[in-house]
Subunit: 988 residues, 2 copies
C-alpha cells in the first residue's frame, strides 16, 4: 500500500503502454489521483501512504494479509461485462409458471430507464433528510397509498424485505400486541412453504409455538376455536398457495373475539378484483409487490408490503412516510413515527428492520401510477380469464383441485406423473411447472402469458390446442369474491398514463432529491461510495433477472458459479471459512449470525443457558433489536471517554455472565470510527467466557486488505454489500448482507425449503428469508465491484477511504471539536487518527443555542447532504467520505462546514446572519416567494441564504421544502396521499 | 378516424378483455385520452373526430387511404422488443478491422447510461434558446475545443453529418472562397473511396471538376503545381486510407501560393500523437469523431468535425457555439454567427446543413473529458504499438505496402489471395479484414483490440503466435511525426476522470437544459413528440450498433430486413413507390431529392436546360440552399395574404420558365401550418410545365393516414424521421431523412461504392453520404414507432396532432391574433382551422414596444420552451404541440401565454409589471442574488418574475443565465472553452 504502488494501480499505463486493456476500474472508482494523494498526505504530515497507514492502524491490527481475489489486477470494465454476460448465459431462461409468490411481470420501459437505471434514483440513501428527498418520499407515499387502497386497511409501511419476513413481522406484532402472553401462533396450511419456514425460524428463538391448521376447512376453524385462548394471532394466504380463494371471515371473527390478530398474506394484483382483506376483517395484510413490474431476479430484490388498521399504526415495523408541514406551513413529507424504530427502542424494539426495499417499492408504485386502476384491473382480468380457460380445458383430462382461483391451478394428474409432465413442459415447451407432489402440479399465470403460451399449456395437459373461436368472452370472477369498492382513486393513479406524462413525473420527483449525482453524501456508517454503471448494468441482464428463485438448480448454473465465486472472495476478504448469501439486509444478517451462534450453542447443549448478548452502548440500534429477536438478553457494555469499549466493564460482565454468555456484538472499526486497539483483548475475553463474537460489518470499508474480522478473531460477521461493496442504496434499499463464519459455525448456515443450497446440512437453521440467495440479482453488482478491483486495488479502497476521512478531519480540527481523536497523541495506538469516518462534536454549541440539526439543515443550503446525525452520539455529526470522493469535493464540503462555523459564531454573537442556521434549509420557494417585507425581518440576504459560497451558483441541489415539522406530523398522522381537498387545506 | 374507434385504439381492452397482450403503445404515445378528446372537440364545437377532420382538411385532400402497415393493430411494446431482438440477431457481429473511417471504440458506461440513454440529453432540440440550453452548449463547446486542440486550428463547428459530407463542405468552402472562379478541386488518391464519392456527387451538380492526384508522391505534387492556377483547393487524407502517414507541407505551400485552400481529412485519435494538420499548413481539417466512444451503428450516427483558421470563421458550415455574455454580464454560451446560415442567406448560402450530430458530438466530447489528454494518448500509443508489432510479424511473410502508419497496414500478400485470407479470418477467427484488391488487404486496429485479438491476427497472416515475452516495450511513433505541443489543456479535460466526478458533470449539464422530460417543446415545424423508451432502447442493442457499415452484406441480414420493411412502410405512408434510406438529415434529403430530379431530367437530355427551381417565399431556408447546392437557380413564388401559395404567380412563373423548369419545392401542409386547398393545382401546374414536384416532409405529421405526398401528386419527398417518426432530436441531431419517390425517379436512387444496395442501378446518382444507409442504427427507432402504432393507430397520430393544435388555437384566439386562420370562415376550404401547427402573430405589439423575443424569453420563466420564433414569418411564434402532449399540458401552455398577454397589456400601459417581459428570462441567480436595492428598481416582485403561475412552484426548469447578448458574442468571437483567466475576467 505504498504511494508508488498506488500510481501503478491507479494508472497501469503511465510508464509504458502494456498489453492489457486500458479501461481499468480502480482509477474510475477511487476519487483522489496519485497527485491528490501526495497533497493530502502532506496536509497530514506524511510522505507515503504506507507511513500514514502505519500511524493510523495499530500495528497488531494491521495484518495486510495478501488477498487472493482473482484476477489479481482486476478485470477491466469491458472484460467484466463480457465475463458477466458469459456467466448470465449459463442461466437458462425458462418460462415460469412456478408461482409461490413470484410471478412474471412487465417492467414498463419508461420506468426501467428512468428509475431502475437512473443514478438519480438509485444512489440516494434512506430519506432521513426529508427536505432534499421529497421526490422519493412522494413515490413511497404512493406505494403506501396503493397498498392501503388494495388491502382496504388504513396504514401501510414503505416496504419490508420479502413476504416471508413480512409474515414473521406479522407474527411478532401479534405476539407483542398481547405482551407475549400467548405463545401460539396459527399458520394456515395453505400458505407458501417458504413463508412458513421463515415464520418458524423467527418463532424458534423466542419460543412462539407455530400451530399449522387448515383454516379453509371447517375442521381447521374448529381446531382454531379450541385453542384460541392461547393464540396471539393467525395468518392465512389469500389466494392460497394452491390457488384457492376462500372466505376467511370466520377465522377473523374467532380471533377478534379473543383479541388476537388476523393476518393475511395476499396478492396485490388479485386484490384489484377480489374482496379486500379488510372485508374479511384482517388486521394485517402483507405480501410481495414483486409482480408490479419487478423482475424475478432469482428471488429478489422485491418489495414486500405490510398494512394494518390505524389501531396498530405505532406498531407497524419499518419505515412509514407521513404527510406533515414544513416550517412555513407548506405540506411536506417525511419519515413518520421514528419513535417506533430500533435506533430509539433498541432491545425493546419488536423489529430490527432498517434498510428495506425502497427502490423496488418505487418501481411497484410507479407501475400502479402508470397503469392506473383500470389498467391494473385489465391485467388482472386477463390473468383470471386465461386461468379459467386453462382450467376448463385441463378439467376434461385431469382434476383441478382448487375449485376457486385467481391465477393458480393445482392439478391432480390423470395417467401421467408430475415428473413426466414437468419433463414434457420443459423439453417440448421450455416451460417450468411447479411439482406439488408425485401426482400433482400447480400452474400460476401472470401478465406475461400470451395466447401462444396458453396454447402451449393446453397442449401439455390435453394434447389439444387453444381454440379462441370457441371463446366469446374471457370469463369473469364469481360475484361473491368481486370487490365493489373503487380502488386507487387518488389523482396520481389517474393522471400519468401516457409515457410523456410518466417521464415528466419521474423526472420531477428525481429532481427534488439529492443523490450521488449531485454531491457527496458523507453519511457515517453508510459508506456512500460510487455505484459504477458497469456494476449497476448487471441488474438489466435478462440472464440474471429473469429466473424464478425456485427454478430447478440446473437452470441456474450461472448463479451457482457467481455465488460460489462471490462467497469465496468474501471468505478471503473477511478471513472466514464460509459465507451464506441468504440475508437481504444488514439487520437480517445480524439476525442470521446470532441465530447461527445460538444454534452452535444448541449443538453443544447450551442453548437455554447461553442467552446473554453483550452489546456496547455505542452499537447501532439494529444490534440490540436483532439480539432481542433472537431471544437474547442484552447486557450493555460501557464505553470509555475516548470512545473505546470499556475493557474492564466488558471483562466484569463477561465473567459475571460467564455461564450464560452467548455472544458479543462489536462493530469494527468501532461505531465511533476508531481502530480500537483493545478489540483483540475484547474478543479473547468473550471467548474465554464461552461466548462467540459477532462482528457487525458496517465498517468493513476500513478493513479490506488491511485487516479482517477473521484475522481479529471474530466468529461471524455480516457484510452490508450496499455499503462496502458498492451496491447502490436505492434510497432505502435494496440491501444484501452475506454472513461469513468460521468453520465451527458452517454446519448451521441456513437451508431452504425448495432449493438445496450448498450449505444446507442436517443442522442448518431454517430459512431467514423467502429466497435461497436473498436478493440474488444484486449479487452481480458487488461481485463485479470486487472482481474489477482485484486483490491489487482492494486495499487501496480502504486506504484512500481512511486518507479521505483523515484529510477532512485535519482541515476541520481547528474549528470543530473532533470526538475521540487526539491529533496530538504521540502514541502509536491509532487514536491519533480516525479510521474511515469521524465525529464532529457540536454539543458545545448548545450553550449558544445552536443544535446539530441546525448544522445538518444548513448544509442543505450548501448543496450537501448532512452526515449521519446523532448516531452514535447525540448532538454530533459523523462524516464518512468514502474513497470515491475526490479532493475537490472533499474541499468543497470542508469549506461548507468552515463557513457554517462562522455562521455559528455569528449566531453566538447575536449577529443577524446567525439566523440563517435556524431558518435553514431555505427552499427555493422560500427564497423566491417570500415577500420583501417578510424577508426583511430576517436581516440576511436571499443570496446569503442560498449562495453562501460561490461554487453554489454553478451547481446546487435545492431543498424543495423548508425544515420539516416532525411533531405536527406525528400528532396529525397521515400516511397516504392526501386528497385534493386536503392539499388545498394545508396549503392555505 | 371516429371518436368511437379512437376509444378502441386507445384502449383495446376497455370493453372485454381480449387475448392480445395489454402493453399496447398508442395510449402511451398519444397524450389525450378519449375523454380529453371529447372535451377538446366540444371546445371546438364538434362531437366527433371525423366531423372535426372533415372540417379541418379540404375534402379533395383528405384521402384516408387505408394504410397497409403490418401488424394492423400494432405490436405491443414487449412484442416489439422481441421482434427487434430477433431482427438484431440476424446481424452477425464480427470483429472488424475494416477501417475506412470507422473504428471500434469503447463507449464508457457512465456516458452510455447518463448521456446516450438519458432522455434529458436526447429529447431536446437544437439549442436555439440558449438560456435553457447551457448544459449541452457547454458540452458542444468542449467538442469544438477538443477539435481545435487536436487539429491545431482556431475554430471548429459543433459537428457535421459525416466525413464524406464534411469533405464536400471543404470543397464547397474552397470553391466559394474564390467566388467560384476556379473550377478544379484536387483530391488525393489516398482518400477514403466513399469520401471521394460524396465529393464527386456534390461537385457534379455545380460543375466543379474533381482532379484525382497522388499527392503523397513527387509526381502528384508536380501535377498539382502544373494545374494550380485553376485549382480552388485540395484535400488529402492524413493518415491515408492505406494507412500511410505522410508530410504534406509541400502541398500546402503550393496551394497557399495560389490562395487556394488546403484541407485535410484526419483522425482525432491519431492526432493525439501525430503532428497536427495546422503544422502542415492545413486551412481546413475534417473527419469523424466516431472512434471517440460512438459505436459503428452500421454507418451512423456519428459526428463529423470541421475546423478552420480564424480567417474562414464566417464561412464555416454548420452550427458554432460561441461564448458571450448575458444581460447581466455573466458569461453565457449560445449559437454564434447565425448570419452565415441558410435561414438568413437562403439560396446564397454555401451549405444547407441544419440538423447535425449534436448528441454524438456530445458523446465524443465527453469521451475526451473522461479520458483526458493522457488517457487518449495511452489509447493511441497502444493502438500504434499493436499495429507496429503486427507489422513486424506480418513483414516476415508478406509485404507491408505503407512504410509509415498509425493504425492501418496495407498488406501485399504472398502466396495467398485476398479472398482466401478473408475467408480464413472470418471462418476461423470471426474477423473481417478489408480487401483492397485481389492480392492486397488492409487492417485497421483500434482501442478494442486485445492481446488475444492481436494473436489471432498474427495467426491469420503468419500461422505463428504472438510471443509477448519477446517484446519489452510497445514501439513508439517515429520522431518526425510526433507532435510536441500539449493537447487538451483546458481544465475540463483534466478534471473528471473518476466516474463519480464524470457522473456529476453529466448530471450538472443536463440539469441546465430544458428537455421533453420537463415540459412540452412546441416548436413549429419540428414535431417534438414522445421518443418512447422502447424505441430508444434499440440504440443499445449490440446486433444493431456493432456492425461496420462496409461489412459483407450477408453479415447484415437483420439490417436488410429492417430497411426493406421500413422502406415498404414509408412507401405506403407517403403513397410513393420506392425509398432510399441514405440521407442522414432533412437538408441532405432535400439535396438528394433534387439530385434525383436533376438526374431524371438528365436521363431525358434536359439536364442543362432545366435548371430553375420554384420555391415559395415561405419555404424553410434549407430549401433554397439545397437548390443552390444542386446548381439550380431559385425563383421565389409569392404567397397570398391568407398564407397560401399565390397560384397566379406560380402559374406565371412556371409558364414563363417552362423551358427551364426543373422543379418546385413545397412544404405541405404549408410552412404556415395550413392545408392549402390549392396544392393539387400547384402540382399540376408545375407538371404541365415540365417540372417535377419536391415535397418537403417536415409537416408529414399532419398527413399520416389522412393524405400523402403521393396521393397529392408529388414526385419525391423527404421525411424527417427525427420529426414525424419519433427519433429523438438529440439536441441538434442525429437525424435521418429517407427520400421517397415515384416509379420514374426510382432508377436514380443513390448507389454506394462499397455496399451494393438494392436500389443501385447504372443510372444511380453517386452517394450523398458516407454510409449506404446513412445513420442506419437510428432506423430501428422509427421502424418500431411505425410498427407499434400499426395501420390502425397511425391516422390518429395526425388527427390528434391536429386536434391539439386547434384546441390551443381556439383557447388563444381571443387574446392573440392567429395568422391565416379565419375561425369564422364558413367555407369548407380548410382555412377555418390550422393543420398541426399555427402561428401567433405578435407584430401588433411592436407598436407598444413588445417584440416576439420578449414573449419567447418570458415563456422560459413559465417553464416552457418558446415555439419556433420568426419562422416562417418574422415577429411571430409558431406553435406545434404534437399528439403526445396531453390536455393538462396544453392547458398549462395556453395559460402561460394568456398570462403573458396580460403582461403585454401591463407593458403597454406602462405598469411596472410590464418590465418582466424585457428582463426575461429571469435566471435563478438573477432572482436569488440580485441585491434588494437593485431589485427594487424593477418594481415587480421576485415571485412575479419566477412564479407567475402557481404550477411553477411544483415544477419548473430554470434558465441558468439571463437573456443572451448576441451582438457582444459575434463582435467578440470566442468558440473554444475559455481559460480560467478568461472566465474570471468576464465574471468580474
Ligand atoms: C453499524 C450498523 N449495523 C447495522 C446496520 C443495519 O444494516 P441494514 O440497514 O442493511 O439493515 C447499519 C445500517 O446503517 C449500521 O450502520
Ligand atoms: C420545413 C423544413 N424543411 C427542412 C428542414 C431541414 O431538416 P434538417 O434539420 O433535418 O436538415 C427543416 C428543419 O427544421 C424544416 O423545418
Ligand atoms: O440507516 C441507518 O440506520 O444507518
Amino acid at each position: 500500500t505504498s504511494s508508488d504502488y498506488y500510481k501503478k494501480v491507479y494508472n497501469p499505463s503511465t510508464e509504458k503502454v502494456s498489453f492489457s486493456n486500458l479501461d481499468t476500474f480502480a482509477r474510475r472508482h477511487i476519487g483522489p489521483t496519485p497527485e491528490n494523494v501526495k497533497t493530502m498526505l502532506s496536509t497530514l504530515g506524511y510522505s507515503d501512504l504506507d507511513e500514514f497507514l502505519s500511524k493510523a492502524i495499530p500495528e497488531h491490527i494491521l495484518f495486510k494479509r495478501k488477498l487472493k481475489v482473482q484476477p489479481e489486477q482486476g478485470f477491466t470494465e469491458s472484460e467484466m461485462l463480457d465475463h458477466l454476460h458469459e456467466i448470465a448465459n449459463k442461466n437458462k431462461i425458462v418460462k415460469s409458471y412456478i408461482g409461490k409468490g413470484y410471478a412474471g411481470t412487465k417492467l414498463p420501459p419508461v420506468i426501467q430507464r428512468n428509475l431502475l437505471e437512473s443514478p438519480e434514483w438509485y444512489t440516494s440513501y434512506t430519506p432521513y433528510q426529508p427536505e432534499i428527498s421529497q421526490g422519493r418520499l412522494e413515490s413511497l407515499l404512493n406505494y403506501q397509498t396503493m397498498v392501503t387502497s388494495l388491502t382496504g386497511l388504513d396504514m401501510a409501511n414503505a416496504s419490508l424485505l420479502d413476504e416471508g419476513t413480512a409474515a414473521g413481522e406479522a407474527m411478532s406484532l401479534s405476539y407483542h400486541n398481547l405482551k407475549g402472553k400467548r405463545s401460539k401462533y396459527v399458520v394456515d396450511t395453505n400458505i407458501h412453504p417458504q413463508t412458513l419456514n421463515v415464520i418458524k425460524s423467527r418463532a424458534s428463538n423466542i419460543n412462539i409455538e407455530i400451530v399449522e391448521l387448515p383454516l379453509s376447512t371447517n375442521e381447521g376453524v374448529l381446531q382454531l376455536e379450541a385453542i384460541s385462548n392461547d393464540v396471539c394471532g393467525a395468518i392465512v394466504q389469500y389466494p392460497g398457495t394452491d390457488g384457492s380463494v376462500h372466505d376467511y371471515s370466520r377465522v377473523g371473527e374467532i380471533l377478534h373475539s379473543k383479541k388476537a390478530l388476523f393476518a393475511m398474506a395476499t396478492d396485490l394484483l388479485a386484490l384489484t378484483l377480489l374482496k379486500s382483506p379488510a372485508e374479511f376483517g384482517a388486521d394485517i395484510a402483507l405480501g410481495t409487490s414483486q409482480r408490479f413490474g419487478v423482475p424475478f431476479g432469482y428471488g429478489g430484490p422485491h418489495a414486500a408490503f405490510f398494512a394494518t388498521s390505524y389501531k396498530y399504526s405505532r406498531k407497524i415495523p419499518g419505515r412509514i412516510v407521513g404527510v406533515s408541514k414544513d416550517r412555513l406551513g407548506k405540506q411536506a413529507l417525511r419519515l413518520a413515527l421514528q419513535t417506533r424504530e430500533q435506533h430509539i427502542k433498541r432491545e425493546k424494539a419488536t423489529s430490527n428492520i432498517c434498510t428495506s426495499q425502497a427502490l423496488l417499492a418505487n418501481i411497484a408504485a410507479m407501475y400502479a401510477v402508470y397503469h392506473g386502476p383500470e389498467g391494473l384491473k385489465n391485467i388482472a382480468k386477463r390473468v383470471f380469464g386465461f386461468t379459467t380457460i386453462l382450467a376448463s380445458q385441463i378439467a376434461s383430462h385431469h382434476e383441478i383441485v382448487n375449485t376457486k382461483w385467481f391465477d393458480t391451478l393445482t392439478v391432480k394428474l390423470n395417467g401421467v406423473s408430475a415428473d413426466e409432465i414437468l419433463a414434457v413442459a420443459l423439453h417440448e415447451h421450455n416451460i417450468n411447472l411447479f411439482k406439488v407432489d408425485e401426482s400433482k402440479v400447480s400452474i400460476t399465470l401472470d401478465e406475461t402469458v400470451t395466447e401462444q403460451d396458453l396454447d402451449s399449456l393446453i397442449q401439455i395437459f390435453t394434447h389439444g390446442r387453444l381454440d379462441t373461436s370457441q371463446i366469446q368472452e374471457l370469463p369473469n370472477l364469481p360475484h361473491e369474491f368481486l370487490r365493489t369498492d373503487p380502488i386507487l382513486t387518488n389523482e396520481v393513479f389517474n393522471t400519468h398514463h401516457s409515457e410523456t406524462s410518466m417521464l415528466r413525473y419521474l423526472h420531477l420527483l428525481q429532481s427534488k432529491d439529492l443523490s450521488l449525482a449531485n454531491s457527496m453524501i458523507p453519511l457515517g456508517s453508510c459508506t456512500m461510495k460510487l455505484n459504477a454503471t458497469v456494476e449497476m448494468q448487471t441488474l438489466s441482464i435478462p440472464g440474471f433477472n429473469s429466473i424464478h428463485p425456485f427454478a430447478p438448480i440446473d437452470q441456474a448454473e450461472g448463479y451457482k458459479q457467481l455465488v460460489d465465486e462471490f462467497e469465496k472472495d468474501l471468505n478471503d476478504i473477511t478471513g472466514f471459512d464460509a459465507t451464506t448469501s441468504m440475508p437481504n439486509s444488514g439487520a437480517q444478517g445480524e439476525y442470521t449470525g446470532l441465530s447461527l451462534i445460538r444454534q452452535y450453542h444448541k449443538s453443544r447443549g447450551d442453548y437455554e443457558k447461553r442467552n446473554i448478548c453483550l452489546i456496547p452502548v455505542s452499537a447501532h440500534g439494529t444490534n440490540p433489536a436483532s439480539a432481542a429477536m433472537c431471544g437474547l438478553k442484552v447486557v450493555p457494555v460501557k464505553c470509555l471517554e475516548n470512545g473505546s469499549i470499556d475493557l474492564q466493564d466488558l471483562t466484569e460482565k463477561a465473567e459475571k455472565h460467564s455461564e450464560n454468555l452467548c455472544s458479543i456484538m462489536i462493530t469494527y472499526p468501532s461505531t465511533y470510527g476508531l481502530f480500537e486497539p483493545g478489540v483483540k483483548t475484547a474478543i479473547e475475553t468473550v471467548h474465554k467466557n464461552g461466548g462467540l463474537v459477532y462482528l457487525d460489518g458496517a465498517n468493513m470499508n476500513a478493513q479490506v486488505g488491511l485487516t479482517s474480522p477473521g484475522d481479529l478473531g471474530a466468529d461471524v460477521c455480516h457484510l452490508n454489500i450496499h455499503k462496502t461493496f458498492a451496491l447502490s442504496h436505492g434510497g432505502g434499499g435494496p440491501g444484501q448482507a452475506p454472513v461469513c463464519v468460521k468453520e465451527h459455525l458452517k454446519p448451521f448456515l441456513p437451508s431452504h425449503h425448495f432449493v438445496k443450497t450448498p450449505h444446507s446440512t442436517k443442522e442448518s437453521i431454517e430459512s431467514v428469508n423467502s429466497a435461497p440467495y436473498g436478493s440474488a440479482s444484486v449479487i452481480p453488482v458487488s461481485y463485479s465491484y470486487i472482481k474489477m478491483l482485484g486483490a491489487q486495488a482492494l486495499p487501496y479502497v480502504s486506504t484512500i477511504a481512511m486518507l479521505n476521512a483523515n484529510y477532512m478531519l485535519t482541515r476541520l480540527k481547528n474549528d470543530y471539536k473532533i470526538m475521540f481523536v487526539d491529533s496530538h497523541a504521540s502514541t502509536n495506538e491509532g487514536l491519533k487518527h480516525c479510521a474511515h469516518e469521524f465525529i464532529l462534536d457540536l454539543r458545545e454549541f448548545k450553550a449558544v443555542g445552536v443544535e446539530a440539526i441546525d448544522v445538518a439543515k444548513r448544509l442543505q443550503d450548501y448543496g450537501f447532504h448532512a452526515p449521519t446525525m446523532s448516531f452514535p452520539v447525540a448532538g454530533t455529526l459523523m462524516i464518512e467520505p468514502t474513497e470515491s470522493e475526490n479532493l475537490a469535493e472533499l474541499d468543497r464540503f470542508v469549506d461548507a462546514l468552515l463557513s457554517i462555523r462562522k455562521e455559528i459564531e455569528a449566531y453566538a454573537n447575536n449577529e443577524p446572519l446567525g439566523m440563517v442556521l435556524k431558518n435553514a434549509p431555505h427552499s427555493l420557494e422560500d427564497v423566491v416567494s417570500t415577500p420583501q417585507q417578510d424577508w426583511d425581518a430576517r436581516s440576511y440576504t436571499r443570496e446569503q441564504a442560498a449562495y453562501p459560497l460561490p461554487y453554489l451558483k454553478t451547481a446546487k441541489c435545492w431543498p424543495t421544502v423548508a425544515r420539516l415539522d416532525d411533531t405536527y406530523g406525528d400528532m396529525n398522522l397521515m400516511c397516504t396521499c392526501p386528497s385534493v381537498e386536503e392539499v388545498v387545506e394545508t396549503q392555505s
